[in-house]
């Protein structure tokens, strides 16, 4: 889960990583009187906010009010700005880059640092980027910071601050179960201090059982996706018209792909998971119906999930929600015959193969 900048900075502050003084507001009435030149930053999850007009500078009280008024409630590249962060403007002498990220291929953290910050790291030439894999069992050690500082040609005093920052940054990465902690830019101020001007933190949502203190409303999820998450479903809203319920993430993705290759546009991704419970099927229909699709496709490969259970769930949902929309069901695997008989007795179309069901649902969704 991506955290907003202000949430990331709160974590940084708690862990001894220097960040600018500031506060976050969701209404102009919460503005404090202007004291010194400030930066007003939209709290949205978008790379390159500045270029899109999401960051404004205030050199007077009037500036500050105008900036906060402009940004709060606006939309930047379709993302609603509901909070802004107001921070002291830094006296920037130089901008560095530093991050610790999961390297999936190596299955370990990797430290990335560069003397060239303030731009996307992808745009920095390879020979200006310091990269070091960290053995998770050994953890971070100061020799890594020495290597990085030497590579970056940091002045001794800045190097000292940088090495201490790396210790804290690695602690954040591990203790907060992060996928990514990124500071870009990491600013060297005119006063000779090292300060994290931005914070990008991605936490592993599977670790939330040990981070009960963290607000776990994922800012990137739609209300329906959040509702589904609360009920334990993997659910993604898409912009098509065919509602999809399948079992297993891979098979669900394959179903969306097959629909798309047949010029059918899926309305959602919903993985039923491994279940043998009628209610879980009914609840899944409730979610998909809320997305208001034109037609619904159910694609089940039965194993742990029994086809007759799913069929009973489909019939129960049809009755409970008085579903009039066309439904096409594919049932294959464990208890397939029983399942298809239940559907037939209740006037619901079913097919033994995925391709037949895909072709059929695309056809009926066009007619509607």
């Amino acid at each position: 889960m991506n955290l907003y900048e202000y949430m990331g900075k709160e974590i940084f502050r708690k862990n001894g990583i220097p960040v600018p003084d500031g506060y976050v507001i969701d209404s102009v009435s919460q503005l404090k009187p202007f004291k010194k030149p400030s930066v007003v930053k939209s709290q949205i999850l978008l790379g390159g906010r500045g270029k899109s007009g999401g960051i404004k500078f205030a050199r007077s009280d009037a500036d500050l009010k105008a900036a906060a008024t402009d940004l709060l409630g606006s939309k930047i590249r379709n993302l609603a700005v509901t909070k802004v962060l107001i921070e002291d403007m830094l006296n920037i002498k130089k901008e560095l880059y530093v991050s610790i990220a999961l390297s999936r291929a190596d299955r370990e953290p990797v430290l990335i640092a560069s003397n060239s910050g303030g731009v996307e790291i992808e745009a920095v030439p390879q020979n200006e980027i310091f990269t070091k894999k960290i053995d998770p069992l050994l953890g971070y050690s100061d020799f890594i910071g020495r290597e990085a500082s030497a590579f970056m040609k940091l002045d001794p005093d800045i190097a000292k601050q940088f090495r201490s920052l790396l210790v804290n940054l690695y602690n954040v990465f591990v203790n907060e179960d992060c996928e990514l902690v990124e500071i870009n830019p990491l600013v060297i101020t005119g006063e000779g201090n090292l300060i994290a001007a931005d914070a990008k933190v991605i936490m592993d949502s599977d670790s939330f059982f040990r981070h009960k203190d963290i607000v776990i409303t994922d800012p990137e999820k739609t209300p329906l996706e959040l509702e589904a998450q609360g009920k334990g479903y993997a659910f993604v809203e898409l912009d098509g018209k065919i509602g999809v319920i399948a079992n297993g993430a891979g098979l669900t993705m394959a179903t969306l792909d097959a629909l798309t290759l047949h010029n059918g546009k899926p309305r959602n991704f919903l993985d039923l998971g491994g279940t043998d419970n009628v209610d879980i099927v009914v609840e899944a229909f409730d979610l998909v119906l809320k997305a208001n699709p034109r037609a619904i496709l159910v694609n089940i490969f039965g194993g742990v999930t029994k086809c007759d259970t799913v069929a009973n769930g489909i019939v129960a949902a049809k009755n409970k929600f008085a579903i009039k929309k066309p439904m096409v069901v594919r049932l294959s695997g464990v208890h397939e015959e029983e399942g298809r008989q239940i559907l037939k007795d209740n006037g619901i179309e079913s097919y033994p193969t995925m391709m037949e069901a895909i072709e059929r649902v695309v056809k009926v969704s066009e007619v509607q």
Partner: protein, 285 residues
């Protein structure tokens, strides 16, 4: 030895009295797997299905000389269970559990590597050698003995493809699920090496998905090292960037992990990529 396991592989189940653990242990026994003991702290001295001894700890299970363990405990307890198995020196540690924090998995994988232990999963369906051994949750009835080895990042989709292979008249020499998490024990390259060395395997199927670069690395490896025919299927072509598609690992981040990139890499390595799961057997010579 076939791929990783065979008919002599002795298996223990950590969490054998849980809902999932007991169901799948029962299915594994029906398949013919040698389940020699189960672990359930506090329930030592009892039996599973009146035949498999239950003990309190992995240490207690070592008298049964296990070669592999299946871990089916809740996510917060997986790291401890895996460490217990690694400490005991069990050669294959398969983790069924979904939603294990990947920081835990990183540490498990690195501990295992130091001891030369193989980790399968987390969040994968396990391994099946038709007619010999099944560790995990794949449905028993979809397999037929044959010469096609399958490695996959997902569960149900694997069954869909295995069933298509079986229906086409071909059969499988080994089926392995790597797991749907961003950090898992095995890579496609690890299993390709095994498939390449396995005399029974003549054809290889890789089932990949969006997220990471496991497929791209595999494609380069195949081009340089594998003479056996390799066919692939990649799912997530229609997935929007930045969204996790059910699996924690199935996400396109900063343009990395797209289906296009994986399909392109396979095509360049001479690996045919099926448009639909059902087309996989059609591409196998």
């Amino acid at each position: 030895m076939s791929v990783y396991v065979d008919e002599n592989t002795k298996v223990i189940v950590q969490g054998i009295t849980g809902h999932q653990g007991s169901f799948h242990a029962g299915e594994m026994i029906k398949f013919g797997t040698k389940v020699v003991a189960g672990i359930s702290p506090g329930k030592g001295g009892t039996k599973f299905q009146d035949r498999v001894p239950i003990v309190n700890s992995v240490a207690d299970a070592m008298s049964f000389s296990p070669d592999a363990t299946m871990i089916s405990v809740a996510a917060p307890f997986v790291k401890d269970a895996a460490y217990e198995a690694i400490d005991a020196g069990i050669g294959i540690v398969y983790i069924l559990t979904e939603h294990v924090p990947f920081h835990d998995t990183m540490e498990i994988v690195h501990q295992a590597r130091r001891k030369g232990i193989t980790v399968m999963g987390p969040n994968g369906p396990g391994i099946t050698i038709p007619g010999k051994c099944k560790i995990g949750i794949m449905p028993n009835q979809i397999f037929k003995d044959g010469d096609v080895a399958v490695a996959s990042r997902s569960g149900t989709l694997t069954y869909e493809i295995v069933e298509a292979i079986t229906r086409s008249g071909l059969g499988e020499s080994a089926v392995i699920g790597l797991g749907g998490d961003p950090v898992v024990g095995l890579t496609f390259i690890d299993v390709l090496k095994k498939f390449n060395d396995d005399p029974k395997t003549n054809k290889i199927v890789l089932v990949g998905e969006i997220g990471g670069n496991n497929e791209e690395l595999a494609a380069a490896y195949i081009k340089a090292n594998i003479k056996k025919q390799v066919v692939a299927y990649i799912t997530g072509r229609s997935a929007p960037p930045g969204k996790r598609m059910g699996h924690a690992g199935a996400i396109i981040e900063k343009g990395v992990g797209t289906a296009e990139s994986k399909i392109k890499a396979f095509n360049e390595a001479g690996v045919k990529v099926a448009d639909y799961p059902v087309d996989v057997p059609k591409l196998l010579r």
